[in-house]
Amino acid sequence: MTTNDRKTDRSTKANSSGTRGSSPVLSVIDATGKVSRSRDPSLSKEELLKLYATIVRTRVMEERALNLQRQGRIGFYVPCSGQEASHIGTAAALRDEDWIFPAYRQAGIPLLRNVPMQQIIDEWYGNDGDICKGRQMPVHYSFRQARLVSISSPISTQLTQAVGAAMAARYLDEDSVVLSYCGDGGTSENDFHAALNFAGVYKAPVVFVCENNHWAISTPLECQTASETMAIKAEAYGFPGVRVDGNDILAVYQVAKEAIERARKGKGPTLIETLTYRMGPHSSSDDPTRYREANEVESWRQRDPLDLFRKYLKGKRLLTQAIDDEIHNAAREEVNEAVKQAEDKATPSVSSMFEDVYRDPTPQLLEQRDDLLSLGEASAGSEGFFPL
């Protein structure tokens, strides 16, 4: 079946600033790093540098992750390079008490929310320091201390849950807001529809961020939907949708701030579409050269959100080369140290596999555990049954 003859322009030009069709795309930083004054969210120097450092730490962490994966030291990785501004910028507009239901490609958020690097990297290794006890693939984090809810693989299931959490917050008369993410592919799933519909009906204090990186693995946007934009989909649910240049962290922050405050005031949900691009493969198992053009990737590299933000900061004289180097070095050291520690940790115990299925294990689980353990003991002498 050939899809719709429409051909989407995935280059940065179509998306950067200005309008496409009837949908304006908000952009704050221009290609030279200058800012349109009227829209500058006017963050303090500390705030700006924390955002910058978070992007850098995310980038450094990821480079290492892909390396470790290639060396077979961790099993899998999902890089987000190119999309850091999109999720770090949106999450930065939250208050600490607000909740996040992420997808799997928002690696910068735990760092932004001060989750120790060690906890993140322990998760990659699935070692006994991992909060998730080695039960999930790398990048499927759970950080309660950061109000970042457990990530799963099925696409978009977090969205309806986010709405429920927002309804709960409202029921409890708390004024926290819930932020949830999905990809462009994620808009096609059942939960996207149910979530936005419920959010509209109950006016839940939730903000949805659709990170439109133009691809769902190898599936291009025009094969995902014939909708003019992702933002327009919000109209089908009775609330506003906005488009923003997802590589421009100030624009992203600004748009998120407004949507979050709207939600907090009881004015209901917003769908934010961030236009962005994943510069790397879908995951460590993916070979993007099979399905996309080098020049498309290159055109987006020219608008790397890290470079763009650096230009802005340097232009404003908020960042010197020395500070930049320091940030990079600190990040590298932080990662090195965490990797070292993670590699020294043990695999979770065999009996831990039977925990947390329920609050209290059923008799069946205890029996299965004991049965398994007895086998281990019986043969431990010969070849060592539990190799991990």
């Binding site: 909740w99 239901f101 991992d130 909060i131 998730c132 006890k133 039960r135 999930q136 499927h140 759970s142 950080f143 309660r144 809810v149 457990s150 799963s152 099925p154 299931t157 969205l159 309806t160 849950q161 986010a162 709405v163 429920g164 959490a165 927002a166 309804m167 709960a168 917050a169 029921y171 409890l172 819930v178 059942n190 939960d191 529809h193 149910a194 979530a195 519909n197 419920f198 009906v201 925990e355 947390d356 299925v357 329920y358 609050r359 059923t362 008799p363 069946q364």
Partner: protein
């Protein structure tokens, strides 16, 4: 004690928990203003207000997804799915999300939620208002699966389910919603999950059944009593966690086992019970383990009475364990 139908027992359980715990919310399609298509939630919206008992859009995916989010946030949602046959649009949320949340987060996030849903045949509901899908849930680690068969248990098991810290599938045998009456303790009445009951004592053959099948088995047992066979009926009450001991003890005593269930025979939960006994107590068996179940066809409309296990088929099933 008050005489109630099974449906009233459930309603009483809901009221008890909503009174006792502000975190308990009831919602679903038509549960509010209309009080549910079976009237299980009748009057709850007036009693507790629209914030605690409300109607939802027609989306099981949304209902369960939102319920999970509420539970994660700290509430105790009790969503209703109008018929168990209509739970499948929410199946992904149930098996991929609710069931695995505690495990995958190392215990950080939990989903204390009770999904109430009417199941089973007996109301001439045809394909889509009659199915018994318990196996889809018993095969999903992380879920508990509860099936009451008396009004008192309906209340008591529901209360325990709502107080439980894990997601519970609460399957209500709609056939006996109104036809089955019994004494129900007033106020707090919690029947623990994981503890079966002997619905009838006997010595010659064990029958394991649940929900609406219990009364069919009781009639079959009466019938067989006439020819001097003493039948023991075990109602596990909760399929997960399963009270294996009560089943194994009974089989060790009687030496015979029949399982009776409404769902299609292949891969039904009665097969699981047969497999447990064939692994753990085969040396006690004096005959084959017989299954009396729905047939391996979709649930029919006109022939519903033929499709569902009835007294004759149960009697014959039991007889087969004696002469084969």
């Amino acid at each position: 004690m008050t005489p109630m139908t099974l449906l009233e027992g459930i309603r009483d359980g809901l009221i008890t928990e909503m009174n006792g715990d502000d975190r308990v919310l009831v919602f679903g399609e038509d549960v509010g203003r209309n009080g549910g298509v079976f009237r299980t939630t009748d009057g709850l919206q007036e009693m507790f207000g629209e914030k605690r008992c409300f109607d939802t859009p027609l989306s099981e995916c949304g209902i369960i997804g939102a319920a999970i989010g509420m539970a994660v946030y700290g509430l105790r949602p009790v969503p209703e799915i109008q018929f168990q046959d209509f739970i499948f649009p929410a199946f992904d949320q149930i098996v991929s999300e609710a069931a695995k949340m505690r495990y995958r987060s190392g215990g950080e996030f939990t989903v204390p939620m009770v999904i109430r849903t009417p199941y089973g045949g007996g109301i001439r509901g045809g394909h889509y208002h009659s199915q018994s899908g318990e196996v889809h849930f018993t095969h999903t680690p992380g879920l508990k699966v509860v099936v009451p068969s008396t009004p008192a248990d309906a209340k008591g098991l529901l209360i325990s389910s709502i107080r439980d810290d894990d997601p519970v599938m609460f399957l209500e045998p709609k056939k006996i919603y109104r036809t089955l009456k019994g004494e129900v303790p007033e106020g707090e009445h919690a029947v623990p999950l994981g503890v079966g009951r002997i619905a009838r004592e006997g010595t010659d053959c064990t029958v394991v059944a649940w929900g609406a099948m219990i009364e069919i088995c009781e009639k079959a047992a009466e019938e067989l009593q006439k020819s001097g066979k003493s039948i023991e009926i075990v109602d596990p009450r909760t399929l997960v966690p399963l009270d294996e001991k009560i089943i194994l003890d009974s089989v060790k005593k009687t030496g015979r086992l029949v399982t009776v269930y409404e769902a299609p025979r292949t891969s039904g939960f009665g097969g699981e019970i047969a497999a447990i006994v064939a692994e753990k107590a085969i040396e006690y068996l004096e005959g084959p383990i017989v299954r009396v179940a729905g047939f391996d066809t979709p649930f029919p409309y006109a022939l519903e009475g033929i499709y569902m296990p009835d007294v004759r088929r149960v009697v014959r099933g039991i007889e087969k364990t004696f002469t084969w």
